[in-house]
Amino acid sequence: MADEVKLYGVPGSPYVSRVTTALKLKGINYELVVEDLSNKSADLLKYNPVHKKIPVLVHNGKPISESLVIVEYIDDVWKGVPVLPQDAYEKAQARFWAKFIDDKCMPAIFKTIGSHGQEQVVAEAHEQLQFLENELNVKGKKFFGGDNINLVDIAATFIAYWLGAAEEALGIKVLSKDKFPKITEWGGNYINCQVVKEGLPPRDALVGFFKKRFGNA
């Protein structure tokens, strides 16, 4: 029986991008069901009644929600290119950094965008980003996953692409190259990966989105 894989989401979402990257890494055919977030479909509400959010992966009619849970599910079901390390300790480290990105980095970065780059807010984001910079320094490799991308790189998608668009839209600087040379280099390499590139929204559309949503303080 052929697998039926549907992904409920919007092309501009970094969380959806996490999932599309994982699906493409595994070479899985899927259908993107585009949602109107101001008018969520009955299907979405049925598949994610708890959070009512995208992305939701529906595999042979069964729904999975929360982007990092979905990415781990994809890694569990489809063998081939691994998203998580095999070793239990390395796996725990990858999960730690992915959670750190979601719990600490993303909220701090969102605040910088919402505050239009207010100094104190940016300083707080820098504190969190410094941990990622140090981690890349210590690892000394192209990606958080080493020579190839893994769960951590995928979790940090926003930082690699969305953040730059937000910075341009609002004329702010959060991820400066001199302060964060490793993350800057990593970002460039990450968005150049074929499986990532294919799932990114066009940059000017993203800049336009940030301008519209957060512009004109």
């Binding site: 708890v50 595999h59 069964k62 999975i64 929600s65 929360e66 990092l68 849970v69 979905i70 781990e72 599910y73 569990d76 079901v77 239990a88 300790y89 796996k91 725990a92 999960r95 730690f96 959670k99 750190f100 941990f131």
Partner: protein
Amino acid sequence: MADSDVILLDLWISVFGARVRIALAEKGVKYEYREEKLDDKSPLLLEMNPVHKKIPVLIHHGKPVCESNIIVQYIDETWHANSPPLLPSDPYLRAQARFWADFVDKKIYEGAKKIWTTKGEEQEAAKKEFMDVLKVLEGQLGEKPYLVGESFGFADIAMIPFCIWFYTLNKIGNMNIEKECPKLAAWVKRCMERESVTKSLPDAHKFYELVLEMQKKKGQ
């Protein structure tokens, strides 16, 4: 000094520490327990968890694993030969277990804290929000014995330590969680039949005293 293969840096009153204690007990793993002081963290804790400086930290063969839900998964994977499995073998059920453990992380801790750190209208709103969250868990339980399927596992471990807080919430918030969520109450009873759980949970009354002390200090 005894060289222990497995060390747990913890705080007995911590719900997050309790998760790890339960997992270790379920797997029958022998370990050295070290109680930390939050206002005087050990150099070892600061070295092993430099990012968050928090407990619990599991140190295995000298290498640290941090974040309670991540530690529980590590324990399940490392001692996979020891039954019972803490996560289901089916990938879809595994995803459900992770989803619900994540739900507990996102909704329970902050939601409950708001109830004993606020007053008046703010507290009423916090109470309603928290009960809504518990009702979601009540719905997820349905007719099932545990949160995800037939066996006690990851999602239950993530949630069960918080049952210690129900006594405090009922008293301070003037609530009756067990009455409003009978399935959850039954699930708590069921989990409490496990030795791993009863031996790992701090005393509910002691926690209540701690919260009262905290409130007094803040002049509430």
